[in-house]
Symmetry: C2
Subunit: 103 residues, 2 copies
């Protein structure tokens, strides 16, 4: 199975990261990932269509925030360590203010 | 002269703030403001048209990041204290990684 494209660390930009985080669903996804090693890409607690979830995961991946790992027919997602190297502490500073949407 | 609209503090959102900061010009404007009390709205070091600058200032204002103060025919801009109250430390965490564009 083909691995998905990830930007090089020197292609990651502060504005790109902020833009990718400027959406409630994407912020929720990253918040869920921040507390675990990795998660199956279909295991997020988001009440949205699979195609919409895929779109949000792609935006986060292309900004350098998350990484995808394919294993057989499954896909696993995690926060990309390069993000912390490029912008140490930034993600924690943002997630500190994240308030999960009440259903 | 009519004062411009500013959102109530409870209308400010984390995603709105991140979105407004996810642009190199707007990040540069906020970075220039962070080091001073206030600045004339035409005194920014940005190589862009006045109309474009006005647009960026409006986006920042409607996100709750900056405030406008009109005095006679002049307009002054500053970082809005409500931002720090709503998201303490967030702006500093972001600006830490801002690198001015090299001309």
């Amino acid at each position: 199975m083909k691995q998905l494209e990830h930007p090089d660390p020197d292609e990651m930009t502060l504005t790109g990261v902020l833009g990718a985080l400027s959406d409630p669903v994407r912020l929720s996804i990253v918040n869920q990932l921040a507390g675990c090693d990795e998660r199956g890409s279909s295991e997020f607690d988001c009440d949205i269509a699979n195609s919409t979830l895929s779109h949000h995961l792609k935006v986060l991946r292309l900004a350098g925030i998350i990484q995808h790992r394919k294993e057989g027919t499954r896909c696993f997602v995690s926060v990309r360590p390069d993000l912390e190297k490029a912008f140490p502490g930034l993600l924690a500073s943002v997630l500190r203010f994240h308030q999960p949407v009440q259903n």
